[in-house]
């Protein structure tokens, strides 16, 4: 097991910069989730750590070794791919044994390791099967088994659950977390799914357009989003944004141009007394809660989360909306979060 550190890492294809000046330190035994929208460079980052992609600038250090110019096999990493990438012509056993065979381990040791791993992943009864004779979930396990038998310093998972159905995904998430704890492994996990990131991560790295927007524990990121992007990306439904040019809100920090309020913190209030007024557009009844979709006169859309026990106002009525001071997040016009210290003292 090992630490991974990236310093000023950059990746460009010709003139297109895909990753720009990325610095990140990952502790030994940590489960780091890299989350961001599709195309933001998550896979590229992971593949640079794996050695499948050249590093344009900066350094990647794994277990105190600069690995920039090492081949993947010399980096002591194992990777799980989105489509599993199992060798279709080999049995599950041979799939798991392949890297060990290349590494020159003797047969007895290989069999022993595979037996241990297969037991860990409950794959014992499938060892003689070919990948196409397995279900999606089983293939996923084999892909993880192939990584685990190698006992690498770092595990790299690239959207390993995105091909599974929703139920299996939730189950596998828990299994991955448990497994990672049990092995004490350093694991970098890439996903575009913010729920997956929230449930799995020790710390998460929120990426957008090739840069890191914020690094922190899931709750830190949720309660203290550093930018409008993070505020809008993490949390479902996303945070509501009110443009301060259109709304008369006091007090506001200097330079603030947007205020963000999470759906669960938004409250109804009498017309004209809140932050803004809006009309009830429609309801999403989800059982335990109801999402009220609202539209303001200038076209901004808001979502308010209600306990189902509460009766919402009728459709098409106008209501006032407000939120407690501590739940108002202010951002400047670059999307950067303004801390409440920046706020002028309230009169």
């Amino acid at each position: 097991m090992a630490r991974v550190s990236l310093t000023a890492v950059k990746k460009s294809y010709g003139k297109t910069v895909v990753i720009d000046d990325l610095t990140l330190a990952i502790e030994d035994g940590e489960l780091i989730v890299i989350v961001g929208p599709s195309g933001c460079g998550k896979s590229t980052l992971l593949r640079m750590i794996a050695g499948l992609e050249t590093i344009t600038a900066g350094t990647v250090v794994i277990a105190d070794r600069v690995v920039n110019n090492l081949e993947p096999r010399e980096r002591d990493i194992a990777m799980v791919f989105q489509n599993y990438a199992l060798y279709p012509h080999m049995t599950v056993f041979a799939n798991m044994a392949y890297s060990l065979k290349i590494a020159g381990l003797d047969k007895g040791e290989i069999a022993k390791r595979i037996e241990t791993t297969a037991r860990l992943l409950e794959l014992e009864s499938f060892l003689k099967r070919k990948p196409r004779q397995l279900s999606g979930g089983q293939r996923q396990r084999v892909a993880m088994g192939r990584a685990i038998v190698r006992n690498p310093a770092v595990f790299l998972f690239d959207e390993p659950l995105s091909n599974l159905d929703a139920r299996l995904r939730v189950q596998m998430r828990m299994e991955i977390k448990t497994l990672q704890r049990k092995l004490g492994a350093t694991l970098l996990y890439v996903t575009h799914d913010q729920v997956e990131a929230m449930t799995l991560a020790d710390r998460m790295v929120v990426m957008n357009n090739g840069i890191v927007e914020q690094v922190g524990t899931p709750l830190e990121v949720y309660h203290n989003p550093a930018t409008t992007f993070v505020a809008g990306f993490i949390g479902s439904p996303p945070m509501n944004f009110l443009d301060l040019n259109n709304h008369n809100i006091v007090p506001v920090p200097v330079k603030a141009s947007l205020v963000g309020i999470r759906p669960e913190h938004l409250r109804f209030c009498p017309l004209g007394t809140g932050l803004c007024d809006a009309e009830v557009a429609f309801f999403e009844e989800l059982g335990a809660e109801t999402l009220v979709h609202l539209r303001s006169q200038n076209g901004e859309k808001y979502i308010l989360r209600l306990e189902s026990a509460t009766t919402p106002p009728a459709l098409a009525t106008s209501v006032g909306l407000t939120a407690a001071d501590k739940y108002r997040f202010f951002f400047d016009n670059n999307g950067k979060r303004l801390k409440s210290e920046d706020a002028p003292p309230s009169p």
Binding site: R73, F81, A85, Y98, S99, I102
Partner: protein, 281 residues
């Protein structure tokens, strides 16, 4: 087959009659040849032509195999076998390697070489036969197995087939092998070859028959009867001028010439059909 529209009554009968007629049309000449190879020359040339097997099967076939007309048939068949196998194995090996290079490696002038190979598609042996003869003669390869085989090995069709196949192999699989520590050679033998198995089998059958049936090229470069191949050999057995010929022996030779290709097709039919219809991904 399930899923096909099921025919009933007249339709069913018509289909079968049609199929039977087709089979008879194809098989009748073969049957005649087979019958002719079991009777004596005298029986054959006196009308009516025999339609039932005679009793001279062993005699005719022994005559063909061990004495023939100018060269014993076993010798010509051996030549054909060497040539067909040489072409098949040579072509498959070269195509596999060149397709591997083109798909997986970045090297200078890569696309130039690609188009160069592509160009050879437009130049089958028949088109370039005169210059090819010049070159082979210049290299003193007339009347040799190398001369028979080499000019037919160089062709692009198989390279393209493997290139297409390799391009369907997901990048992730290649990367997984890299992470697992497989170098280029290992990847080729452990992953690429097994995944191409069915395609190789299909190509083997097609190329073996192609090699076996070569006529023009062997005719041109084998002047020594000992180097004759069976397909051109049959032609040379045919009467020219007022020679008398042993038709039963010629027929026996024709039947013998068909045996290896048929054996290859039957022997490899499972893999062959798989390679044509299924891709094992």
């Amino acid at each position: 087959m399930t899923g096909m529209v099921e025919k009933k009554g007249w339709g069913l009968w018509l289909t079968h009659v049609g199929l039977l007629a087709g089979i008879i049309i194809i098989c009748y000449p073969l049957y005649i040849a087979l019958i002719a190879s079991t009777v004596t020359q005298a029986d054959l040339v006196t009308p009516p032509m025999p339609l039932l097997p005679g009793g001279h099967f062993l005699e005719n076939y022994r005559a063909a195999l061990f004495s023939g007309m100018s060269t014993p048939v076993w010798k010509m068949m051996a030549n054909s076998l060497v040539m067909a196998l040489g072409i098949t194995i040579g072509k498959i090996s070269i195509s596999l390697i060149s397709a591997y290079a083109i798909v997986y490696f970045r090297f200078p002038l890569r696309s130039f070489f690609f188009w160069l190979i592509f160009l050879t598609l437009m130049l089958p042996v028949e088109v370039r036969i005169v210059p090819t003869y010049e070159v082979v003669a210049g290299m003193h390869l007339l009347n040799s197995y190398s001369g028979l085989i080499l000019p037919l090995v160089a062709s692009a069709t198989a390279t393209f087939l493997f290139r297409q196949l390799f391009m369907t192999i997901p990048d992730e699989l290649v990367e997984a092998a890299r992470v697992d520590g497989a170098g280029p050679i290992r990847f080729f033998f452990d992953i690429l070859l097994p995944l191409s198995r069915t395609n190789i089998a299909a190509l083997f059958v097609i190329l073996f028959i192609y090699g076996w049936n070569q006529y023009l090229w062997p005719l041109l470069i084998t002047t020594d009867p000992v180097m004759n191949t069976i397909v051109m050999g049959i032609k040379q057995m045919l009467p020219s001028g007022d020679q008398t010929v042993e038709w039963p022996v010629i027929m026996a030779t024709a039947i013998l010439a068909m045996v290896p290709p048929v054996a290859v097709v039957i022997g490899m039919r499972n893999l062959f059909v798989k390679g044509l219809i299924e891709s094992e991904k």
